[in-house]
């Protein structure tokens, strides 16, 4: 009960902070949607134009989407009773159990790679996060037999990881605010953009990618597992 109370308080504090920042934040520095595909590499140092738009030009919108998933997973983690899951009661065969045990680490590594290389190749935080959550969901689907559920991580650990990633995302935005730019600004803050195409490029974009990836992955895994457990 104290844990749920603490989670509730931390979640509401984050939500309040996000709301205030949205109200006070980026009213300056509006960018007209003219030639994103021409300017992205020069402006942000990221090759992937979609990631550049998501995490540089329109980072505040991404924060809003992340808040939606955050709120949904928070509510589901509180409200869903942890009864025995009816859909998970079917036993799959031994072949699938061993095959998944062989296959699952590759899926996880691929998800992490999609997150980390999000600004130089297709993918990014959301895609890699959904890959991570799909690996968690496959684990829960395959290895939960007969009413007792088995997870990769306990639910509270998922919740804490998600909270921490949300906190990192919000606090990374303050770098722009403290160095004279707007909230979640990237190139204005003086962070070196690096060589376009290498792993360490794009300023804040890889960090925001990693934070979003963990947040989305843990949040969606939490939502789907809560729906399984009804």
């Amino acid at each position: 009960m104290r844990r749920t109370l603490a989670l509730l308080i931390s979640g509401s504090i984050v939500a309040l902070g996000v709301t205030t920042l949205m109200l006070t934040g980026t009213l300056s520095d509006a960018i007209r949607p003219v030639d994103y595909t021409l300017r992205t590499v020069r402006d942000t140092g990221a090759i992937n134009a979609v990631t550049a738009i998501l995490f540089d030009y329109r980072a505040l919108d991404t924060l809003g989407e992340a808040t939606v998933i955050f709120a949904a997973s928070s509510v589901l983690a509180f409200l869903a009773p942890r009864s025995s899951a009816s859909m998970l009661s079917v036993r799959l065969s031994m072949l699938i159990l061993y095959g998944i045990a062989f296959l699952l680490p590759f899926i996880m590594v691929f998800g992490f790679g999609t997150i980390v290389f999000g600004h130089v190749s297709p993918g990014g935080g959301f895609t890699g996060g959904v890959m991570l959550s799909s690996s968690v969901v496959i684990f829960a689907v395959v290895y939960s037999v007969g009413g007792q559920q088995s997870y990769v991580l306990p639910i509270l650990v998922k919740k804490y990881v998600e909270n921490a990633a949300m906190f990192v995302f919000v606090s990374l935005g303050f770098i722009g605010l403290f160095s004279g730019g707007a909230y979640l600004a990237n190139a204005l803050t003086g962070i070196p953009l690096g060589e376009p195409g290498s792993l360490l490029s794009g300023g804040l974009i890889p960090l925001l990618n990693i934070a979003t990836g963990f947040k989305v992955g843990m949040g969606l895994a939490l939502i789907i597992i809560s729906l399984f457990a009804e």
């Binding site: 859909m87 079917v90 699938i96 691929f110 999609t114 297709p122 890959m131 799909s134 689907v141």
Partner: protein
């Protein structure tokens, strides 16, 4: 490539008139794998190796879908 699309169309017809649920799921999986091959062929023709990442993601999600369908099938007896 044209052959791939035509065979995918054939699989769509099977998806439409497949009498049982298993046939529909099989047709869906056939279309998924054919489009996986089609994406690889697009990468080969357009000379963009980035497409392989898309195909990999595709394959993994396809697999997750098939597992969830299998769970659903195993749960509902007499559903066919």
């Amino acid at each position: 490539m044209v052959v791939t699309v035509v065979t995918a169309l054939a699989a769509v017809v099977r998806l439409m008139l497949g009498p049982s649920l298993v046939d529909r799921i099989v047709a869906g999986s056939v279309i998924g794998t054919m489009l996986f091959a089609l994406i690889l062929l697009f990468g080969l023709l357009l000379d963009e190796p980035m497409m392989i990442d898309v195909a990999l993601v595709y394959s993994v999600l396809h697999f997750a879908d098939m597992l969830i369908y299998a769970k659903f099938l195993g749960r509902h007896r007499g559903f066919m």
